[in-house]
Amino acid sequence: MTTDAQATSMEHASQSSHGWLLAGPAAFALLALIILPALSVFFVALTDWQFGARTFSYVGLENYHELFADPDFYKSLRNTFVYVLIVVPGTVLTGLAIALLVESDRTLRTFYRAAHFLPFMATLAAMAVAWEALLHPTIGLLNQALSDLGLPTANWLRDPSTVLVTLAVIAIWKNLGFAMVLFMAGLKAIPRDLYDAADVDGAVGATDRLRTVTLPMLGPTMLFVVIVTALRALETFDTVNILTQGGPARASEMLLYTLYVESFGYLQAGRGAAITVVFLIIVVLLTLLQMRVMDRRVHYS
């Protein structure tokens, strides 16, 4: 009896040690690369540590108090949301429209797909230079074209009223191909029979077909594209840093750029960590919200 029980418990022990051995590398990597850094951010946010300093002291929620009393932080927060609210619908609608157009005709499909996907593959830092040349107030192609057509021009990246929209357009241009490719895959997955049924049932016009079959069946793809685009827009940093440095007058300063300036410009690591925590909470909340809202209206067949 006892030997039996001992044998079983030894077997258990060896099984669980095997388990740990197998899970070990992944668990260690997870701990070292994600969990510990995240925890350290939460911790740093509670201190007055300056980047590179040898000492620091615990300040409790002081960083958060300062942050929420700072009008510049609110401005950055507001800019971020406005930017996301332009980029997400812009990307989804144009991506969907282009996917529908490309799918509707077989000719040159691969070319269009590759052409629209190119900006997504390219380094935005390099592309930003091209955009800067394009948007230059006097010798930029855009303004020259506008003035040739007799339309009003603007100093796109230096005018507080246009800078955020301009950055949003660049982001749409970049994410468009990604959304398009996903939508094209989604369109391919719609059963042919449903379109046939729509034909026989009399849903013939483009809008009727979109509403009866295409859009509802694209629900899961739509959910995915919206979430991914929103997250990517939230963490925009490269265009701001290269093209505007948050200016003019903080009109294009967004959360991640503020975080960067606080942490590595002013070396206020504690404050930067507090912004990171706020950023993290926003991302998590947004994801949960989207999941909940859209899951109810999405139909996984």
């Binding site: 059963p191 029979d193 449903l194 046939d196 049924a197 034909d199 026989v200 049932d201 009399g202 849903a203 013939v204 016009g205 009727d208 509403r211 009866t212 079959v213 509802p216 069946m217 629900g219 139909h299 067949s301």
Partner: protein, 392 residues
């Protein structure tokens, strides 16, 4: 209710490598108004393509389609007054059963403005039309016992219920032609039997023209007024189920219809009134010259184990026996045939047989089918005495 006439329909697909494939070949077919016609054939014979051409979902390469005496070539499915039930049911997964059933009516009775989202319901006349739609939907739901499922979505229904919703959606508009493309293939055997009866009853009640595509001969035999057997894009034979079974025009039809499959064995014409088959000489007359090779088709139920030997009796060795309950299938080898033959007899008669046993098999001569070397049926003359004896 409308008749359908297909006149020399051809369909040629182009393969990816550019070479053409002929799927339908000069196919002509008339379906009478109110008839239940089944297109039966193995997969790839073109039957689904044909029904899609009738529906207008696919254009034919040549030939013309008339429905109710009117040529409908080039017309959109919507304008052909047909309804179709798909193998996958093709229900809109995001809509309730009620919305699924209402859709064909919504698309036809409401104007584009009345269908518009949000503002549609405020358009003049919306409520009146909507009431007629709701009434018709409830009526058809009642007829197919779907009333308690109206609020559900297709994902929450069983296969049989989805099938019924698909039927109801086809019925709701009262089309003049019903097209069904393998509607029962996704159901389990028991449900299939039940739905077979329901569809037959539906046809009897509606008296609408039904065109039904299937590869399942049981469905074709049990439901149809007439069956068109298709092979390689042509109709091989068309006729009532009993005729197809009793007088198949070709060997392929004979082998396609009937379970277990008909036994086809080679025989030689010995004289104007006898044929030698597997060591036995059957008193069957043909007009073929002596020495010709023919294929003799023996239906499993036309073979019976008997006690005594004789010139017209085959000698068989039992390979295996399948007991089906009331009936038994006996697989056995005969002289000179590599493939086992099968006979179907009552369980009582098969009781005495065991594997490896040698036994005698009598054939009902009036049920013997003969085919020439091209597989075409040929007439046979059976002596009166033999046929009288074979009445059991």
């Amino acid at each position: 209710m409308a008749s359908i006439a297909l006149d020399r329909i051809a369909k040629v697909f182009t393969r990816p490598d550019g070479s053409p494939t002929r799927v339908l070949d000069e196919l002509t077919l008339q379906v009478a108004a109110g008839e239940f016609l089944t297109l039966l054939g193995p997969s790839g014979c073109g039957k689904s393509t044909l029904i899609r051409i009738i529906a207008g979902l696919e254009p034919q390469s040549a030939g013309s389609v008339s429905i109710g005496g009117q040529c409908v070539d080039g017309r959109h499915p919507r304008q052909r007054d047909v309804a179709m039930v798909f193998q996958s049911y093709a229900l809109y997964p995001h809509m309730t059963v009620e919305a699924n059933l209402a859709l064909p009516l919504v698309m036809r009775r409401l104007t584009a403005l009345q269908r518009a989202p949000w503002i549609g319901r405020w358009m003049p006349g919306y409520r009146r039309v909507r009431e007629t739609i709701d009434r018709d939907v409830r009526e058809v739901a009642g007829a197919l016992e779907l009333t308690h499922l109206l609020e559900r979505k297709p994902g929450q229904l069983s296969g049989g219920q989805r099938q019924r919703v698909a039927l109801a959606r086809a019925m709701v508009r009262q089309p003049s032609v019903f097209l069904m493309d393998e509607p029962l293939s996704n159901l389990d055997a028991k449900l299939r039997t039940q739905m077979r009866a329901e569809i037959t009853a539906l046809h009897r009640r509606l008296r609408t023209t039904f065109v039904y595509v299937t590869h399942d001969q049981t469905e074709a035999m049990t439901m149809s007024d007439r069956v068109a057997v298709m092979f390689d894009g042509r109709i091989e034979q068309i006729g009532p189920p009993t005729e197809l079974y009793a007088r198949p025009a070709t060997r392929r039809v004979a082998e396609f219809i009937g379970t277990p499959q008909i036994n086809s064995i080679d025989g030689i014409v010995r004289s104007a009134s006898t044929i030698e088959v597997a060591g036995a000489v059957l008193p069957i007359g043909t007009c073929l010259p002596t020495g010709s090779v023919v294929t003799v088709g023996l239906r499993p139920e036309s073979l019976t184990p008997v006690e005594r030997a004789g010139a017209t009796v085959l000698l068989g060795r039992v390979q295996r026996i399948e007991h089906m309950g009331a009936d038994s299938y006996v697989y056995f080898h005969v002289l000179g045939q590599a493939r086992a033959l099968v006979l179907r007899t009552s369980a009582a008669r098969a009781a005495g047989l065991q594997p490896e046993m040698v036994f005698h098999v009598a054939t009902s001569l009036d049920q013997v089918l003969l085919f020439d070397s091209q597989g075409r049926a040929i007439d046979s003359v059976v002596p009166q005495i033999a046929s009288v004896r074979s009445f059991r």
